[in-house]
Amino acid sequence: MQLVLPKEWKGPAALIASIVVLAIVFTFLNPRFGSVENFRNILFQVAVPLIIIVGTTFVIQLGSIDLSVQGVMGAAGMAWILLSANTRLETDYGIWAWFIAIGIGVALGLLAGALHSLVKVPSFVVTLGTWYIGLGIGIILYGDDMLPSLKSNVLMAWPTKLTLGLPNAFWLALVILAAGALLSRFTHFGRGVLAIGNSETIARNTGMPVNLMKIIAFTLAGGLSALAGILATMQLGAGSPDLGSGQLFTVIPAAVIGGTALNGGEGGIMRSAVGVLLLIILNNGLVLAGVNPSYQSGVFGAILIAAIVAVARPDRGILKIAK
């Protein structure tokens, strides 16, 4: 049985090759780049975007977009820390904190999915709305009191702690990633999402539960953004409504670099994950290589474009339209 068709691996192969090239160059510039310590550091850093990108990929495969990531992360992160043992409140709901925080993300995702599929509001607008609702929840929870920090050293240390040599944060991401990949490949939902992205009209005409699938995709994305928010809060040891800042612009380019077309129907979770890896390694490598911070943004952008061109070039004809 074949898991993935060979053609689908052409892009990722080029992507992995460019990661290898980058790694070699960075190791040459600073041997510490190749150290076990940095390897763990990178895995620690990719964990949060990897969790987010599972949901993002499903949504983009539909041909929609989920902008709410950062807002949901802020809301869920704040809810989780305030319900866990923290320096501000005397509360500790233990495991329930997780359920409630992820529940907020699920609810926001459900709202976005329902509005998008049933009321036919473009996902761009709906999720922009849920982004701000999430941010609003985060700000209200934050209030005008002091910054809440985690009290439990066990929770604070958990993401960095090594299991079988790799940080726990990465293991969590890996489990989510594997579950996402299986969901994508071995369920009618996963393949249905691709079908809808290819042609929603045909999907409706063949009797697919298009609305349900869209709602599931957005709900999943919301729940995973919430989980990412909790992990990020744990990593930071403190809560902040702005916790997710910058994540949206990591995951969307990562998905595109991985070959997930923004108009839907293409790409896969593992490929997006490789995209995330490329972006994080690029950033980490530039710091380690000692690139002047003033030039870092520019160099980052230039290498990013070079990577995309290298990966995507062979597939483009003269009349192929890119938007």
Binding site: I139, L147, S240, G246
Partner: protein, 384 residues
């Protein structure tokens, strides 16, 4: 005589006058005297509104700004409008214009999102017959004395001293030897630039044995602070003896990164702002007293001083054009906090501290209140 008309005329006068002789200066001063005398007679609370514009409502400093404005509003008995700019100059300016359109004259404190927002806001306030004090950011060549009485003052804490405080604390804690890394804020912000300049200058002048290993702008963001710290740990490992961050938010992230790497008790930290979390860490001696230096200033102090200065101009109790330069472009004292003296500042974080501070302002005026009396004026001098 209509105050509004008069002040706008002055504004026009003053912006065009610069190179004219002292006779014209004198005439203008007379005109101002006349107008303020009339203003004092006619100041009616119900015609005015206090406005406090903040960059966002998620940063503890901004929240403190709002607290100060509330305390001032309660004290003066003038209603308060809060403008939340949501980190956007566009939102800031359009919200302020909306408030101005309400018909009441504003007494305003603005913590500007970007330096370049200041002239637009000041102009609009002038046209609405109000008075404004700008905090922290304005264009370098834009001065209240050139603009007019409605731009009452520009105020800030000197960034250079903040940087020097941090450098002294780390330098002393390390015994003048070791490697440090820096986490500046948003790279092109004046506040960050002045703090960085102060830090670098102090190290260069007085701690030749301290080596600055690297500097990674972290956009005032705790997450980014943590991320950059992790990369720097990999890059320099145990060569890092000290970490300086341009504000406490980034320091909180950086400390977590060092703690996760089991390095927290081997490294000294210094930063700016003395956030409650930071204060708690100093109290508890987290990471074998990892935090060695902080600066003390509070958002509520800035906003109440700013509003009170504008209020004095609005009521005519103070004529901006007759004030010396340091009261138009003011630098307020910044206190260096160490684990030894932090207790002196605890009282400023008690629940009634903003109210007490406002009371003090009413007694001694905006330029002499403890712990932030006026310390200098004019443009901040950057060290070489």
């Amino acid at each position: 005589m209509d105050i509004k008309k008069n002040t706008t005329m002055q504004a026009k006068f003053q912006t065009t006058r610069r190179r004219f002789g002292s006779t014209i200066m004198a005439t203008v001063a007379l005109a101002c005297l006349a107008s303020s005398a009339i203003a004092a007679d006619t100041f009616k609370k119900e015609d005015w509104v206090l406005v406090a514009s903040v960059i966002n409502t998620t940063n503890p400093y901004m929240i403190s700004n709002i607290e100060g404005a509330k305390a001032m509003s309660a004290k003066l008995g003038i209603p308060l409008e809060i403008v939340n700019s949501n980190n956007s100059s566009q939102t800031e300016i359009s919200s302020i214009l909306a408030v101005l359109a309400s018909g009441k004259k504003p007494i305003m404190f603005v913590n500007t999102v970007a330096s370049s927002d200041a002239p637009t806001i000041v102009d609009a306030v002038g046209k609405a017959g109000g008075f404004v004090t700008i905090w922290w950011n304005k264009p370098a060549d834009y001065h209240p004395v050139d603009v007019g009485n409605h731009f009452v003052a520009f105020q800030k804490h000197p960034g250079v001293s903040s940087g020097r405080c941090g450098a002294k604390a780390i330098g002393d804690a390390l015994g003048g030897k070791g490697g440090v890394v820096m986490l500046p804020g948003v790279q092109d912000s004046t506040t960050s630039q002045t703090r960085v300049a102060g830090f670098e200058a102090e190290i260069k002048e007085n701690y030749p044995g301290i080596k600055i290993l690297d500097s990674r702008p972290s956009n005032w963001d705790p997450q980014l602070g943590a991320k950059n710290a992790r990369d720097l740990i990999v890059k320099f490992g145990s060569d890092i003896n000290g970490v300086w961050a341009a504000d406490d938010g980034m320091q909180i992230g950086a400390m977590q990164a060092f703690e996760n790497a089991s390095l927290l008790d081997k490294v000294k930290f210094a930063s700016d702002g003395l956030y409650p979390t930071t204060l708690a860490d100093i109290k508890s001696g987290r990471g074998k007293n990892a935090i060695v230096g902080e600066t003390f200033h509070r958002g509520y102090m800035a906003s109440s001083v700013g509003l009170y200065t504008a209020y004095l101009a609005a009521t005519g109790q103070m004529d901006p054009s007759k004030q010396p330069l340091e009261k138009r472009e003011s630098l307020f004292k910044l206190s260096c906090v160490t684990p030894e003296n932090y207790k002196d500042y605890l009282k400023y974080d008690e629940a009634d501290a903003p109210a007490k501070f406002v009371e003090q302002l009413e007694k001694v005026g905006p330029w002499a209140a403890e712990p932030m009396p006026l310390s200098g004026g004019g443009a901040e001098v950057m060290p070489k």
